[in-house]
Symmetry: C2
Subunit: 358 residues, 2 copies
């Protein structure tokens, strides 16, 4: 492996949107999703090493701006992410994100990356990785309810990580289904467009709910779901936003990322805190069982957790080490004498004076 990153501490590696798309193209989306899900799995195995802070949220009339920090004591990361449901009315995205990876020993940031695309990838990679422990063995069909920005990423991840080949999709907006179909036309999967939520779940061993409605909606009721199914519920991810009927949750074994956060943001916000849930790191480590019998109804109540962003930034940073010319940002000063910060101004002015005098 060639290590061509410029290690001058005044430079910070930069992954722009174009660079992220190039990296995806270079690695291949399938391989990227596989690699990323392995990194997330590795970091869940190291669960107790991480600082698990609540995310910082700045709320306003139109949305929220959040900072999501975490650290494994070697590296520190944070993600900036907004959520503005009305943005689409003015041609902007509901969610944009970027993130920073830093070195804990020196406190210096080492990489700044776009995370709008990366978050979509990490959310899908997380869902698929969790499903390895929760979905029925040899599942072949997934139902996808909601064909928004996240849908194709979910389909790709379940295809590559779990080997799902048939996808039944449904969205109240037919144009969204067609967008999904068009985007996945060249993939080696079977895509079936359905006309209702009742129809889409038929015969599916896995059901993914990923709708954008910002209220307590009921996308899935208990009577729609047979025993033995795994539900990957990722659309209910903030206070006041849920997708599953309470009695469906009560029937199932529910698995979460980080319980204190999911109690507030997940579908289980509808239930009393006495309803028991299992944190996935325990399952991944083998301390608790995931799916343990064929008729078990499992639900992954995913809300997105800072460790997954950390894994994603760590993965991209490791991939960058293999690149010959990653872009660099001159974000930090690098003066000879650390105590002589002012000298930088002086130097700069002097140079100009000389230039003017010449």
């Amino acid at each position: 492996m060639s290590c061509a990153i410029d290690n001058k501490p005044n430079n910070v590696a930069f992954v722009s949107v174009t660079a992220m798309l190039d990296l995806l193209k270079q690695v291949g989306t399938d391989a990227f999703l596989l690699g990323l899900s392995a990194y997330i799995e590795q970091d869940y195995l190291r669960w107790e090493l991480f600082d698990k802070s609540p995310r910082f949220a700045s709320h306003s009339a139109d949305g929220v701006i959040e900072l999501m920090p975490t650290s494994d004591q070697q590296q520190f990361s944070f993600k900036y992410v907004n959520g503005h449901p009305k943005n689409t009315h003015i041609g902007l995205q509901t969610v944009t994100a970027f993130g920073v990876l830093a070195d804990v020993a020196s406190g210096y940031p080492v990489m700044l990356s776009e995370m709008t695309i990366l978050t979509a990838l990490r959310t899908a990679a997380t869902s698929a990785m969790m499903a390895k422990y929760l979905a029925p063995q040899n599942a072949k069909t997934m139902a996808m309810i909601g064909c928004g920005a996240q849908s194709e990423f979910q389909i790709m991840a379940f295809n590559v990580v779990l080997g799902i080949t048939q996808f039944r999709i449904y969205d109240i907006d037919r144009a969204a289904m067609q967008k999904c179909q068009q985007n996945l036309a060249s993939e080696d999967i079977e895509l079936i467009l359905c006309d209702s939520a009742e129809e889409v779940v038929k015969g599916a061993e896995i059901i993914t709910t990923c709708t954008a409605d910002k209220r307590n909606a009921t996308i899935l009721t208990s009577d729609m779901v047979l025993d033995g199914v795994h539900i990957n519920a990722i659309g209910g991810d903030c206070p006041g936003k849920t997708e599953l009927a309470a009695d469906l949750l009560l029937r199932a074994d529910v698995f979460v990322e980080y319980e204190p956060q999911t109690r507030i943001e997940g579908d289980i916000q509808q239930l009393n805190d006495s309803f028991a849930v299992t944190e996935m790191y325990k399952v991944i480590r083998g301390d608790r069982k995931g799916r343990s019998y064929a008729e078990q109804l499992t639900i992954f109540d995913g809300v997105g957790f800072a460790i997954e962003d950390f894994s994603a930034l760590r993965y991209v940073h490791d991939l960058l080490q293999q690149q010959s010319t990653p872009q660099q940002l001159e974000l930090l000063t690098n003066q000879q004498n650390p105590r002589d910060l002012f000298g930088l101004l002086h130097q700069s002015v002097q140079v100009t004076r000389l230039a003017v005098g010449a």
Copy 2:
């Protein structure tokens, strides 16, 4: 005013270290400090509009990484800043920083800026602005204890904002004093190098303490300070790091930025919470008195507050509007259909295939 910023929402203005030095050169350090102190003063006048959150801190064996967010409901800002005292041993700086300014209405970041230099400028501009309300009228002499990275910035700010022309400086490391002298050689000020803290304070109407020792040190004892002096105490800025003797604080009227933070981080951490202090926004608004009589001993116990970083980013962003070619970062996606994020990958792959085929 020409407004040449590229407003495409996928781009974020970027102020590198070189761009910050160029901006300073273009505006002039004096004018920059004056403008910045006016912005900070304006924002203190709007105090109640701001979200005042405690800073987020990730502590490790060698230092701390902090995120300092705030918002006036129109703009949101945060600063990333580290503090690693041992960094100088490996040729790195103790403190580096960068910050982001964002639009609250859309949640989109609009500017990313280096803040290692900008923090030094804002700290000095804040001290000088506060001293307008607290220092003796027509003061001419300031004593500066500690000639580290912040010292020249303090001297420049007190010169330009308050008209101080004579500076008595002292550092236990003579090389630091010489660095300061050399850096300020071309300025129209009188600089007097002193051999002790006792000597440096003689005849000074203002005393600035800015030492780096990370412990409860006693740089100034009560017997060294006459009545009528203003002390600008900025080195005691985190738990376990103080500069002033407790009896000196008890003799004085103490002014702070944000009381809950200063109780933990400032020199007053040595005192009981019942010791009354005055928040500066009340003084700046005219609700409370700053200096009210000639013999009054005043202390500004400065620790650095998120609003000052917000002001600094707002100031730099306004200056950028007057530039013809600010640098841009491609940090955000900008697809036609906000719900079609995956289409970006598709497009990118297609473009390449065409290119390869051509």
